[in-house]
Point group: C3
Chain length 118, copies 3
């Protein structure tokens, strides 16, 4: 058995999460419903991160670092609104937010993070 | 002797790979031949990743996470074609793919990844 | 007491640095003075990285990997000038440099890195 655990390896293209040596590497998460605005997409992304971390025996209080990609910096405040309502304020991760076009023109935000297992 | 091992520190600017505590951090890899299209550039990048991992005593089945930068999302399918032909489908890494302009207008793809040693 | 140490958690939004299991994850650092050019902003960013690493009991010779975001590739040479004057040339990190719009139109460069503790 491998010392690396791969969660949800979608058709072999990528794993939604990879565990190794006490760390959890999540794939970039995007919203399932891309027809909504930035705040709702960010909320959706953060819910997916919660779900993946739960599968790996961790939670948002143990996220170490996050990279947030928004497709238009103009809407960063709406992403941050969702983030602030969600983040564990006594244990926030390191973070960078940059603008990048994502998988489709309707994909407004993608978040990739690394967490510690419990 | 340092507990950090640096591979190919090009003129002291950056290292092509850095090993520490069982992990291997690769520099962003770009194609050597930038005159070809996305699929061939991606194949070239993936070959370089294979070569660097081999130097560090690892291989693609032990990549934990990868960030793929493409300079135009329109050509992501060609990158994915090269990726799918290359990736270890039983052990795919976490991954995010975003659009970003790279070192030159002809640089179509750059991939940065982290792997576990064997 | 947590096994994760968070440095400068600004209002609970993000931590400027996070330490876990011998590694230090820094938040993306930008210049404090955004009215100056690329070279000076990069110097400012690198000074902040030095200061954060010092707070965490590390230094630039122990950076493992860095992602550099510049808002215009045209000014990458000025960033690299500051980088080369700063980097520990016998111990350079893995690095990728990509173009991305950052927190404000005046933010010319942001650097996110991971280092090993001493």
């Amino acid at each position: 058995m491998s010392d690396i655990r791969r969660i949800d390896p979608m058709g072999g293209k990528l794993s939604d999460a990879v565990e190794y040596n006490g760390l959890i590497y999540l794939a970039g998460q995007v919203a399932e419903n891309l027809s909504v605005g930035m705040k709702q997409q960010a909320e959706d992304v953060l819910r997916q991160i919660d779900a993946l971390l739960a599968k790996c025996g961790s939670d948002k209080s143990r996220i170490l670092t996050a990279t947030v990609y928004v497709n238009d910096m103009v809407h960063k405040p709406q992403m941050d609104e969702a983030w602030m309502a969600w983040v564990d304020r006594s244990d926030p991760p390191a973070r960078a937010t940059v603008e990048a076009q994502l998988g489709s023109p309707d994909t407004l935000v993608e978040i990739m993070c690394t967490a510690a297992k419990r």
